[in-house]
């Protein structure tokens, strides 16, 4: 199922939380070779995890982590503006209706349906939080996965070539793309809405106290 969690919510599910940080180490440090900090316990965490982000997690049975992403508003401190502005001609993106989406991570062995499920959650947030776009940084491999699930972002800029290409892009996930990711995830829009309401309550914006 899809779970929407704050730092506070994660603290109540330490197993799921640590699995997410461990899978992030596997993806960003081991597989991609990015210069991210991995602690002695094998967990990857950075300064943006300390800014009370909103996490979306695909939870498999028994509290296992299948994939996740991390959201922060672009009006405050965020990773894209601090580290990836060069992909947008050196210009910062700052808008109350654009959230950044970083650390988009798939657990080892997780299929494209997990990426599609996370994108489906992105679509729910866009609609229900009154947003226009999600802004994200991704590598060439993720770009291929986004294309496969029918949710290619609009690329603002790239650096590097081939497998090493890193890009910045915007997702709007309107009608057609929403339907495609739902189909690819194998999740009905009704079920996705149910998961959203479980986290946020009916007709509200903020996470419910669990």
């Amino acid at each position: 199922m899809l779970r929407y969690m704050t730092t506070e919510g994660l603290a109540r599910c330490p197993g799921l939380r640590d699995a997410m940080f461990r899978d992030r180490a596997a993806q960003f440090s081991d597989r991609l070779g990015w210069a991210v900090a991995v602690d002695a316990a094998g967990l990857e965490r950075d300064q943006y995890d300390a800014l009370d982000p909103l996490y979306v997690i695909w939870e498999q049975g028994c509290g296992r982590h299948g994939g996740s992403m991390r959201l922060l508003p672009t009006t405050g401190r965020c990773m894209v503006n601090d580290h990836f502005a060069h992909l947008n001609g050196g210009v910062q993106v700052s808008s109350p209706v654009i959230w950044e989406c970083t650390r988009f991570c798939l657990a080892p062995g997780a299929g494209p349906h997990v990426a599609a499920a996370l994108m489906l959650a992105g679509g729910e947030l866009l609609e229900r939080q009154g947003l226009d776009h999600l802004l994200g940084v991704f590598d060439a491999n993720m770009e291929r996965i986004y294309r496969r699930i029918g949710a290619s972002p609009e690329v603002l800029g790239s650096a590097g070539a081939g497998r090493d290409r890193t890009s910045l892009g915007l997702w709007s996930l309107t009608g057609g793309a929403r339907a495609r990711v739902a189909r690819r995830a194998g999740i009905s829009p009704a079920l996705s809405q149910l998961w959203y309401r479980r986290a946020f309550g009916a007709g509200s914006f903020c996470l419910q106290p669990a």
């Binding site: 508003p73 405050g76 700052s94 609009e154």
Partner: protein, 237 residues
């Protein structure tokens, strides 16, 4: 309503002193027909600044009793960036229950909707509306107006940042090449569809460029943004 709102936002835009924002927030409160509307900036050092329609006695009492430390709205919004309905917050503590009763006794209203704002360098502010209606009516109000209110909240905040003592001009005010392209074509009288088509981007992405340029230019709407871009020499047409 829409034109009324734009007129009020232009008042905010023209504000040269915090007192002008007080006038604007009173007009906005009347325009939305709620009991109160408040913009509240809390610095890391615990200093408070803002404007709003709460009675002077309640504002003084809030400060004197140091309610900032226990107010569930402030404490709850510090960890979130999504708007919050006050009913979702934890009012169960003894101090919080007493605070709530005191607030209602001072005419704050029993319904509330607060928008957390995260600004540059860890800046934090809140934009709040409060009212006295039943739950269903309030939920419908939130649904109908949340997006406008989020934009208004950030608009107030950008203006408040300008009044911050010792402030250095915010970096990153330059328009990106794509934003310049979009604004230039709009200034030339192209429709949004024509601009999107000319730049080979979707109208959705175009909206993001326009919105971002609008915010950087501190403009109330697209027309205003185009005018400012021309007057500042950022675009040539």
């Amino acid at each position: 309503m829409r034109t009324g709102l734009e007129r009020i936002l232009e008042t905010v835009e023209r504000a040269t002193a915090p007192e002008d924002m007080q006038v604007a927030i009173e007009a906005l409160r009347d325009s939305f027909g709620v009991r109160h509307m408040v913009y509240h900036w809390v610095s890391a050092a615990g200093e408070q600044y803002g404007c709003g329609t709460y009675g002077a006695d309640w504002v003084a009492r809030y400060k004197a009793r140091d309610y900032l430390r226990i107010d569930p709205v402030v404490q709850g919004c510090l960890q979130n960036f999504q708007p919050v309905d006050w009913k979702q917050l934890d009012w169960s503590g003894k101090a919080q229950r007493a605070f709530q009763a005191d607030a209602i006794a001072h005419g704050v209203g029993h319904q509330g909707f607060s928008i957390p704002i995260r600004g540059p360098n860890g800046q934090f502010a809140l934009f709040t509306l409060s009212h006295d209606v039943d739950d269903v009516t309030w939920a419908a109000f939130e649904q109908r107006h949340s997006r406008d209110l989020i934009l208004i909240a950030h608009y107030f905040n950008s203006k408040a940042l300008e009044f911050q003592p010792g402030r250095t001009p915010a970096p990153g005010q330059a328009l990106s090449p794509r934003e310049v392209d979009a604004m230039t074509l709009l200034a030339m009288g192209y429709s949004r569809a024509q601009v999107a088509n000319s730049l080979s981007i979707s109208e959705h992405t175009l909206r993001a460029y326009i919105e971002s340029a609008r915010l950087k230019l501190g403009a109330a709407n697209t027309t205003h943004a185009v005018a400012r871009a021309i007057s500042r020499g950022l675009i040539v047409c």
